[in-house]
């Protein structure tokens, strides 16, 4: 299949979708499924069938994440020429009502369809619906789409997420899917692609923030009979699920980015390494690969060009350290997922000792948009050194939790209070934890810091893969630090001594402090130990394992001090 055929298929799908007067999107992502979305989806389907309306009246589209996970299951109703309606907490009853209320079309809506003065940008007037006799009860479930939660977001990676059926290649095509790939293959040399990505300023979204274009360029320059591309989908940070969402809800976007990367670097095969805990992501990516192969997007001569590339899935079996690139390579090679020292870097000697580019899912998902809209457009979003957007999994003690995509440079203040809606009643914001167990916490005083790689590092945290957990005053910071150290002890591969023994000793030290058995000197020792582990560990896991302790020590030292044994001297002084 070539690119003209691709365009034809896209048009066909657009035409098909355009026939429907109503399109009801039901979120079937993991978060909504755990809130009961399977029943919701089923009910919608059955209710529509019972309507016995014309086929063109409506279709139910299972989609990916719509973002506001805390209000799941979510259902979005799109009526032609109307702004969409978003319903939250859609139980079976509510789903039934949604169908009965919207289909068949009320007379007013029927009118509106013909009313040229109303266009898709018109804010939805719920009164309009009420006038048509909609029950008051449904009103409660409406989530305003112009709320800050949505309005503050900028969607690049999540453009199609929640808009398309992730299991339908054609739906992706209808949303300009694989246009970037077609363009790259037709118009650009591999070096051009590397240059374009370099110019966009895209940096690795996995944590360290290495310039993606530079990585591609290094691999491109290697001479080797075989090269590999690996998409790192081993999202192990507790509290982070951005990559899972992208893989589940827009798998073709990831594949498209991967194929473009392969073209740019000269790789002929690649692997998507996906966490074993993500069965849905595995299934959807697997289907996406099969569909892409059938359509000639993967395999021999991609889109009818001379370029060939194929991808396979490798399933991780539960090891956080496999997020580290050399450990991940070992894991794909069927070995213990243990990091090795670098150099050599994977771009020179990676999988099976061949040049290998490893990029995180979110990084890859940015690529099609950069190609489609240009490096300059991408570089216009974000800050000086951190370009584009970042997807965060917003969790913890907040009103609105879920998945958000924001421009780099947005402040934590905006995220917490505007997008997140602030901490629930009666609680006080204490800190925001970014970067998971490798990151650190940011106290209230620094909430106005713009989010980018450098400023987070300066605060003692990291961007990480994008977990953002809000902690309120009910959590004690030493306890919280211990939670992360416990995680690192459990996830340490055991190869190097600072991480293997050091993390255990940090935990011992914390236990001593939390148990009220420590003196002031123990805080210094803890800090020193953390610095040793940070400085001497072999891989990123060990090097960043002490971050949660160090950052809580930095900003909440008083909480630690409060736990210390009162010195005998002090007692006598009193």
């Amino acid at each position: 299949m070539d690119s003209t055929h691709l365009e034809a298929l896209a048009q066909e799908e657009r035409d098909r979708q355009g026939k429907y007067k109503r399109r009801i999107f039901c979120c079937t992502s993991t978060a909504c499924l755990s809130a009961g979305a399977a029943i919701t989806h089923n009910t919608l389907d059955q209710a529509l069938a019972q309507c016995q309306c014309d086929e063109e009246e409506a279709e139910i589209v299972p989609t990916g994440c719509m973002g506001l996970c805390s209000q799941g299951p979510l259902v979005r109703v799109e009526i032609q020429n109307h702004a969409p309606l978003l319903y939250g907490n859609v139980s079976a009853d509510v789903a039934q009502q949604i169908v009965t209320e919207h289909i068949p079309l009320s007379a007013n809506e029927e009118d509106a369809l013909d009313d040229d003065s109303i266009d898709a940008t018109t804010p939805h007037d719920f009164m309009h619906l009420r006038a048509s006799g909609a029950k008051k009860s449904l009103e409660r479930f409406i989530i305003p789409l112009d709320s800050p939660f949505f309005a503050k977001q900028v969607r690049v990676v999540l453009t199609e997420t929640g808009q398309i059926n992730p299991e339908k290649l054609d739906d992706y095509l209808a949303h300009d899917g694989y246009q970037a790939l077609a363009h790259v293959l037709a118009e650009m040399s591999p070096e051009d692609v590397c240059e374009e990505i370099l110019n966009s300023g895209l940096r690795g979204r996995g944590g360290a923030g290495f310039p993606t274009g530079l990585k591609w360029k290094l691999a491109n320059q290697e001479l080797a009979s075989e090269k590999y591309v690996i998409v790192n989908g081993d999202e192990g940070d507790p509290g982070a699920y951005m990559d899972r969402t992208v893989m589940e809800d827009d798998p073709h976007r990831v594949l498209e980015g991967m194929i473009i990367c392969a073209y740019a670097t000269g790789a002929t095969s690649g692997y998507l390494y996906i966490r074993g805990e993500y069965p849905i992501a595995i299934r959807r990516i697997r289907r996406a690969i099969q569909a892409a192969r059938r359509r000639g997007i993967l395999g021999k001569s991609v889109l009818g060009t001379e370029f060939s590339f194929d991808a396979e899935i490798r399933i991780g079996a539960g090891a956080f350290v496999c997020g580290e690139e050399t450990a991940l390579i070992h894991s794909i090679e069927g070995q213990r997922g243990i990091p090795r020292i670098r150099p050599p870097y994977p771009t020179a000697a990676g999988l099976r000792d061949r040049p290998t580019v490893i990029n995180n899912v979110e990084t890859m998902a940015n690529v099609p948009s950069i190609i489609n809209k240009g490096a300059a457009w991408f570089a216009s979003i974000g800050t000086d050194k951190s370009k584009g957007t970042k997807v965060f999994a917003l969790a913890g003690q907040l009103r609105n939790t879920g998945l958000i995509e924001v421009p780099m440079g947005i402040t934590l203040q905006e995220i917490v209070y505007e997008i997140g809606g602030g901490v629930p009643e009666g609680r006080e914001f204490k800190a925001a934890q970014t970067g998971g167990p490798s990151g650190g916490c940011i106290p209230k005083a620094h909430l106005d810091t713009p989010i980018d790689y450098e400023s987070l590092r300066q605060l003692g945290s990291i961007m990480g893969s994008g977990g953002l957990v809000i902690i309120d005053d009910s959590t004690l910071m030493p306890d919280f630090a211990r939670f992360f150290i416990d995680f690192c002890v459990d996830e340490s591969c055991g190869k190097c001594v600072p991480c293997r023994v050091g993390t255990v000793q940090i935990r011992e030290q914390l236990d001593k402090i939390i148990g009220g058995n420590a003196g002031p000197e123990d805080l210094d020792r803890l800090e020193n130990l953390c610095n040793v582990v940070k400085k001497t560990s072999l891989c990123g896991l060990g090097q960043s394992a002490p971050n949660p302790v160090l950052s809580t020590l930095k900003y909440f030292r008083d909480e630690y001090e409060a736990l210390l044994k009162v010195k005998t001297a002090d007692v006598t002084n009193n």
């Binding site: 993991t30 978060a31 940070d237 079996a317 069927g334 969790a395 003690q397």
Partner: protein, 178 residues
């Protein structure tokens, strides 16, 4: 290309268990590449529910990978287990969000109710309690998976009650059977 000779008798598991045939099929699909070890172990865990010694020996032999390495790899990853799980399972997410929202209290409650620690199975083999590193449903924290069904916004009370009901139902059925 060049394939080292396979031993005449080493090609099938003597038990004739259908699940071994599925493993064989996958081995063939992955061309008996040593790289495929993790994939095979994943499938084996899925098919058998746990990795027995016999199974690991079989895989080592089929892939021509040293048994020591198979054992080393299998013990490295969390998802592999070496004993059969209980009839019913309860997985509790301990990701940051769930932690912050009290996952520990759920674990304690279940441990209390069933007198087992995390990672253990009740002596009657009916119920296992396991812990997961973030299931990625942080928006609905705390999250629990009971017999494969993901449930969000749980409390210690709701989980223990539901788990107790499931197990009691099995016990009743057992009693009827006997």
């Amino acid at each position: 290309m060049i394939v080292p000779n396979k031993t005449a008798t080493g090609n099938q598991h003597p038990s004739g268990d259908e699940r071994f045939k599925k493993i064989d099929n996958q081995l063939r699909r992955l061309k008996y590449e040593k790289d495929a070890l993790l994939e095979i172990l994943n499938s084996a865990q899925e098919l058998f529910g746990y990795l027995s010694e016999d199974l690991l020996i079989y895989i080592a032999k089929q892939l021509h990978v040293p048994l020591s390495r198979v054992y080393g790899v299998a013990t490295f990853y969390h998802m592999f287990t070496f004993e059969p799980l209980g009839e019913h399972t309860c997985i509790i997410c301990t990701g940051t969000a769930c932690h912050v929202k009290g996952a520990n209290r759920i674990i304690e409650a279940i441990s209390d109710k069933f007198s087992i620690s995390a990672g253990e199975t009740t002596p009657d083999g009916l119920f296992s309690l396991t812990i997961a590193r973030c299931l990625g449903s942080c928006g609905l924290a705390p999250v629990v998976v009971l017999d494969g069904q993901v449930r969000g916004k749980e409390t210690p009370e709701t989980v223990t009650r539901r788990a107790w009901e499931i197990v009691a139902f099995s016990k009743d059925k057992q009693a009827e059977g006997s």
